[in-house]
Amino acid sequence: MRPGTDLPVLLPPRALLPGPGPGGADPLLLCPSLLVATAAALLASAAVAQTAGDAARPGAIATLLKWAPLVFSGFLLNVLVSVLSMALGTLAGAFLGLAQVSLLRPLRRVAWAITQFFRNAPWLVLLFYAMFLLPFEVHLFGLTVAFPAWAKAVVGLALPVAANVAEIVRGGVQSIPAGQWESAESLAFSRRQTLTMVVLPQAVKRMIPPWMNLYAILTMATTLISIVGLQDGLTIARAALVAESRPELLVPMYLMLLLMFFAYCYPIARWTLALERRFAVRV
């Protein structure tokens, strides 16, 4: 609000940190030191496993590499589920969020209740409900469409995502100063025009960073689907450990999976931060 201030208390917290000026990225985030560290830990644990293992069997690194493609294919299921449930959740959440700023009181109330319910329910419980309450096939206009487990998982995860997106949308819309509404109204814009031409274009910018943040969280939460029996990265990694029955592989195997998630989510987090900075304080 007050970019020209000299008073430290009025500056946003980040402005107090020594570091790059506007536009530049944070050095801590620019250098992928965390990625390097995780990779190093993976190598180190693999090396430990290598020395600890029985000399007669194939080496730990060779074993890891053998399983890597399969674990990666499982990881791709995680990514697929995350993308689909994010899309579904965003669509539903946009409607829920806009309903929460509706002028119709009953609609606002219902949307609020739905949002609060799904936002404060454990994701895993919602996932269980989706898995066990949704039918395995649906009959549509005489057609029978199979509803496989992964699709149910998408729905199950989309529920909390929708509720969180709804909050992001509501917050974004409400963060637009009242003066914008007032001036649009005074220019004889209808409410719908005010929303679509004045408020939302500004609000969407502010919604993008928290939305991406939510996506990164969702991606990591997709490992929950292994609990309900889907062959995701976690399931396959566990299966590989069982098949090998070599305890020294436990740490490097999970680290490999972790690295895949990290390599996927970390750039999103970095990008989010860059966007946040770009959209920051331009009122």
Partner: protein, 238 residues
């Protein structure tokens, strides 16, 4: 135009029994201490704020009527705010063009030509492509005036439009309003600029505590106020 208007926020009467008349082509200034209901009165005139009782007529249209077509009223009544309230995601030109384009559904080339003329008129020809964030307060306020004028309103309301500006930029905005009034635009100006009121207004109203204490031609009211409350206020500000 405004007759016996009352407006309450909860228990507090913001406006009580306020009446004023503005004829077409007149410029009226409303002065008075902060919190005396000046801004609320303006917002009542274009139905941004509903009134509790009384009657407001704008160009033959009753504002305090549940069947009022608010959008039609607001096409006739332009308002400029203290905080400019430009749309930050649109350029100056787009800000001016938006309402005629989307509300009045006018032809784009015509709207653009008029928007450019209006921006030239408020002295901002070189700034048409700038975003509000790149303009000074005075420039933003002039864009806001052009944006209201683009709707071809019958009445313009100005709500302390220079209160957030420094003396230098204040002047450029006041000159713009003065020119408008001289051209015969009906203006209702809420202001703390006594010099401006004296120069431009046909009538000056002094409000305090939600009441109109007195009104009259600027020289009479500002020069020789009848009411002690007006005198006390003017002694402080002049």
């Amino acid at each position: 135009m405004v007759r016996n208007v009352e407006k309450r926020f909860g228990q507090t009467a913001v406006l009580s029994d306020v009446s004023l008349t503005v004829r077409a082509g007149e410029a009226v200034c409303i002065i008075g201490p902060s919190g005396s209901g000046k801004s609320t009165l303006l917002r009542c005139i274009n139905a941004l704020v509903p009134v509790d009782s009384g009657s407001i007529t704008v160009a033959g249209r009753e504002v305090n009527d549940p069947r009022l077509d608010k959008l039609a009223l607001r096409r006739d009544v332009g308002i400029v705010f203290q905080q400019y309230n430009l749309f930050p995601h649109r350029t100056a030109l787009q800000n001016v063009m938006m309402a005629p384009l989307h509300v009045l559904k006018q032809d784009r080339t015509e709207v653009e030509a008029r928007a450019r003329r209006l921006l030239a008129k408020v002295g901002l020809e070189p700034k048409t492509g700038s975003y509000p964030g790149e303009l000074s307060g005075g420039q933003q306020q002039r864009v806001a005036i052009a944006r209201s004028l683009a709707m071809n309103p019958k009445v313009m309301l100005f709500d302390e439009v220079t209160a957030a500006l420094d003396p230098e930029t204040k002047k450029e905005v006041l000159v713009t309003i003065q020119e408008l009034a001289a051209e015969g635009m009906t203006c209702i100006v809420v202001t703390h600029e006594m010099g401006f009121a004296r120069q431009v207004a046909d009538q000056v109203y002094f409000t305090d505590g939600g009441l109109i204490v007195e009104h009259g031609p600027p020289d009479a009211l500002l020069g020789a106020p009848r009411e002690p409350r007006t005198r006390a206020f003017l002694d402080k500000v002049l």
